[in-house]
């Protein structure tokens, strides 16, 4: 860890000698009306953290219900709402906002820009996302609607037709699902437009696309996927609302409509969506691992190519979620192939991260520990993905707890670990204070133990025949012990998160001052103060290589000689 900040000409913030004090109302007004990408980024992240806790509570309730077979802790109606809300919340109101939040905060800083290309659109996108979440949660209290059977949606986060038709979903619960996601979908598309325009049109002089930090590249590919994938979801939800309110027949099987076409439309969105979530996690790891290995990322062009390849191929794999719906054998075989193919560039990335660490001098800061956890866990998650890609294996494992274990391995073991790493790495930049490393280690180990207790054991009930989305199960199938271990792990994870939240609050007020560049890193965000001034850089920098600060710190051996 570098002990000192790196003073660079022109980058020190010129702040007044004392803070102007503001009333509460003025502070709130500042935040509500801000168009500063850093503040918007922080609001996205704060919003996501709040919903992470809410989604975690929903999961905890479900896990308690599933400890014993035939338990009566929660009724089936409530349980079905819980898993629907848990999935919808975590994907749309935790993972998406946090990914957009970090991207918003970091991309302009890392490409030497003063803000995103369209600051007002940025604010609009955030507020649309935020209101979408509030609308979804309003469903809990919004009441029963016309038919006396409403409340929160209970159709599953992918809302398969015709369960969502008015005949089977009376009241407004499904409407809350569709409308809240339509609203936040507008926010996502707005955010994606902004990322693309920012990355293509506002890079600082000298920063060609080939010299951009990998985080910028990966947010660029992610944004492209958002543009391609959110449309199908929006379209499908509009069709659903037309069915429910205008008497349409898109998914009305009684009128000749197709339930399978909903699945196609949803998964054409749904699969790229998970890449939208994981590619920014790759971005965090790609920035953190080099710094704590003290080596440049191995194979930058390959990493870019692999990411772009993942982006394109991920648009062609969607029906691996539908191996059991009765597609013909050649249809199934096609999706087996594309799904396995998308594993190739993904594997290449793991090898490149490995090669980055190889021959380096690895420092085990908490941020790096989380990234190492990511590497092992994402490897496993990818391999269970390959298992699921083999359609016959999938015919047993689909819609079982094996799938639930697989995607939680990706999202929690992969994305959330990388995200925790990102917090420890960039919290100093965002707040000017270091997070406490000791508390961080407690957070890491508690969460790691909990994660493995829960999600390693979760694979087994799936192999033993336990389907997902069941509020209870029969005794005597060999599922009880694994469900118990799974629930115990939740306790450890909860404790880990509590330690993390405590760490953030304590460090924000009393942590060690960070300085500009506490990690001795190499990208542009570390050249400005912590936190950066509103205008980011006093002078827009000009760069000559992928690691501008390395060039400055090592004038005898700059990167641009080798690139």
């Amino acid at each position: 860890m570098a002990s000192d900040s790196f003073p660079l000409p022109g980058s020190i913030a010129l702040t007044p000698p004392h803070e102007i004090s503001k009333t509460w109302l003025e502070v709130v007004h500042d935040w509500v009306s801000t168009v500063d990408h850093k503040r918007i980024g922080l609001m996205y992240i704060g919003y996501a953290l709040l919903f992470l806790v809410v989604g975690g509570v929903e999961a905890t309730l479900m896990r308690i219900q599933l400890v014993h077979p035939r338990a009566t802790f929660i009724s089936p109606q409530v349980f079905n709402r819980l898993f629907t809300m848990h999935g919808t919340t975590m994907i749309f109101f935790v993972a998406m906002p946090v990914v957009f939040g970090f991207g918003n905060y970091l991309v302009p800083l890392m490409i030497g820009a003063r803000d995103m290309a369209f600051p007002r659109l940025n604010a609009f996108s955030f507020w649309m996302t935020a209101f979408g979440g509030l609308l979804l949660y309003f469903s809990f209290v919004g009441g029963d609607g016309l038919y006396g059977a409403g409340s929160a949606p209970d159709v599953g986060w992918f809302a398969y037709a015709p369960l969502t038709a008015t005949a089977f979903s009376r009241g407004h619960s499904t409407d809350y699902w569709a409308l809240s996601l339509l609203v936040s979908g507008v926010g996502s598309i707005g955010g994606a437009v902004n990322f693309i325009a920012t990355i293509l049109s506002t890079r600082c002089p000298g920063m060609t696309l080939g010299k951009m930090p990998l985080l910028a590249w990966m947010n660029f590919v992610m944004a492209g996927l958002v543009l391609a994938a959110l449309g199908p979801l929006t379209a499908a939800q509009v069709m659903l609302m037309i069915d429910r309110y205008l008497g349409g027949h898109f998914f009305d099987t009684q009128a000749g409509g197709s339930a399978v076409i909903w699945m196609h439309f949803f998964w054409i969105f749904g699969h790229p969506e998970v890449y939208i979530l994981v590619i920014p996690a790759f971005a965090f790891v790609s920035e953190i691992v080099p710094v704590f290995s003290r080596k440049a990322i191995f194979g930058y062009p390959a990493m870019v190519a692999a990411t772009v390849a993942i982006g394109f191929v991920s648009l062609s794999v969607w029906a691996h979620h539908m191996f059991t719906v009765g597609m013909p054998s050649y249809g199934n075989a096609f999706f087996v192939l594309t799904t396995m193919v998308v594993g190739i560039p993904t594997g290449i990335k793991i090898f490149n991260w490995l090669a980055t660490m190889w021959g380096g001098k690895i420092r085990f800061a908490v941020a790096m520990m989380f990234c190492i956890g990511f590497l092992f866990q994402f490897l496993i998650a990818g391999l269970t993905g390959i298992m699921l890609a083999a359609a016959p294996f999938n015919w047993q494992l689909s819609a079982s707890y094996f799938v639930v274990a697989h995607f939680h391995y990706v999202i929690v073991g992969g994305i959330l670990f990388a995200l925790f790493g990102a917090f420890y790495y960039w919290f100093p930049k965002m707040t000017g204070r270091m997070l406490d490393e000791t508390l961080g280690k407690w957070h890491f180990w508690l969460f790691l133990i909990g994660f493995h207790l829960t999600f390693d054991s979760m694979h087994i009930p799936g192999l033993l025949g336990m389907p997902r989305r069941i509020y209870t199960y029969e005794p005597g199938r060999g599922w009880e012990i694994w469900n118990l271990i799974c629930t115990i792990g939740v306790l450890f994870q909860g404790l880990g998160v509590l330690v993390f939240v405590f760490n953030m609050i304590r460090s924000y007020y009393g942590g060690t001052p960070a300085g500009n560049d506490p990690w001795d890193a190499w990208t542009l965000e570390w050249s400005t103060s912590s936190p950066p001034p509103a205008y980011n850089f006093a002078k827009i920098p000009a760069v000559r290589s992928r690691r501008p600060l390395w060039d400055l710190k090592h004038p005898e051996d700059p990167d641009w000689k080798y690139e």
């Binding site: 660079l8 000409p9 022109g10 980058s11 290309a117 369209f118 659109l121 598309i189 994606a192 437009v193 902004n194 693309i196 325009a197 920012t198 293509l200 049109s201 506002t202 890079r203 002089p205 000298g206 944004a223 958002v226 543009l227 391609a228 994938a229 959110l230 449309g231 199908p232 929006t234 379209a235 499908a236 509009v238 069709m239 037309i242 069915d243 205008l246 008497g247 349409g248 027949h249 898109f250 009128a255 000749g256 409509g257 197709s258 076409i261 439309f265 054409i268 050249s527 002078k539 920098p541 000009a542 760069v543 000559r544 501008p548 060039d551 400055l552 004038p555």
Partner: protein
């Protein structure tokens, strides 16, 4: 960060205009939405269990189509005028674009009136009705949004506020209008050529 200014100053640093990139990104996202409605339309061709078929009730809107597609030409001419600072000519062509777009919408409205009240072909009649009104309606809603934009610029132009410097911004808006027209080419082909 002025370590090596010489190397940078030699090559001028130009990046694509953010307005163009932004609108093209939006168009990409909108295309994804339209594609799904087109797929649904094509998938459900011939699958209605009852009710009138498209062939029985749809009349090919030749005149409206010519109007809408011509509006792409008029908006292009308007921008050409604005680039040369001919604001009067710009206003004229811009108004023509607006009028042609409005004619298209009115024509669609009249056609729908006929379909609904005389032919009994509605969004809930059958699969054909659902997919037809959704697809054409989605397009019409985008024409409407475009028309609102055209009207705003028209009012600004009449107030004398649109000048040569604004040509780039109007150009960006015109991309959206061209997109709306291009979508109509696809919708027309799918609904009135393939679908009948």
């Amino acid at each position: 960060m002025s370590a090596t200014p010489l190397a940078i100053a030699e090559t001028p640093w130009t990046l694509p205009s953010k307005g163009r990139v932004g609108i093209l990104s939006l168009i990409a996202a909108e295309s994804a939405i339209f594609s799904i409605f087109v797929v649904a339309y094509l998938y459900y061709l011939g699958k209605s269990l009852a009710g009138p078929t498209p062939r029985q009730v749809l009349e090919v809107p030749i005149f409206d189509t010519i109007c809408l597609l011509s509006s792409s030409i008029t908006i292009h001419l308007a921008l050409g005028a604005l680039h040369k600072a001919k604001t009067g000519l710009f206003s004229a062509w811009w108004f023509a674009t607006l009028a042609l777009g409005a004619i298209f919408l009115v024509g669609t409205g009249r056609d729908w009136y006929r379909l609904i009240y005389r032919e009994g072909f509605t969004i809930h009649t059958n699969l054909a009705g659902t997919t037809y009104y959704s697809l054409v309606g989605l397009h019409a809603s985008h024409v409407t949004v475009g028309l609102v934009g055209l009207i705003i610029v028209m009012l600004l132009a009449l107030a004398g506020k649109v000048r040569q410097e604004d040509a780039e911004r109007c150009e960006v808006f015109s991309y959206y209008w061209h997109f709306v027209d291009a979508v109509w080419v696809v919708v027309f082909t799918v609904v009135y050529i393939i679908g009948r």
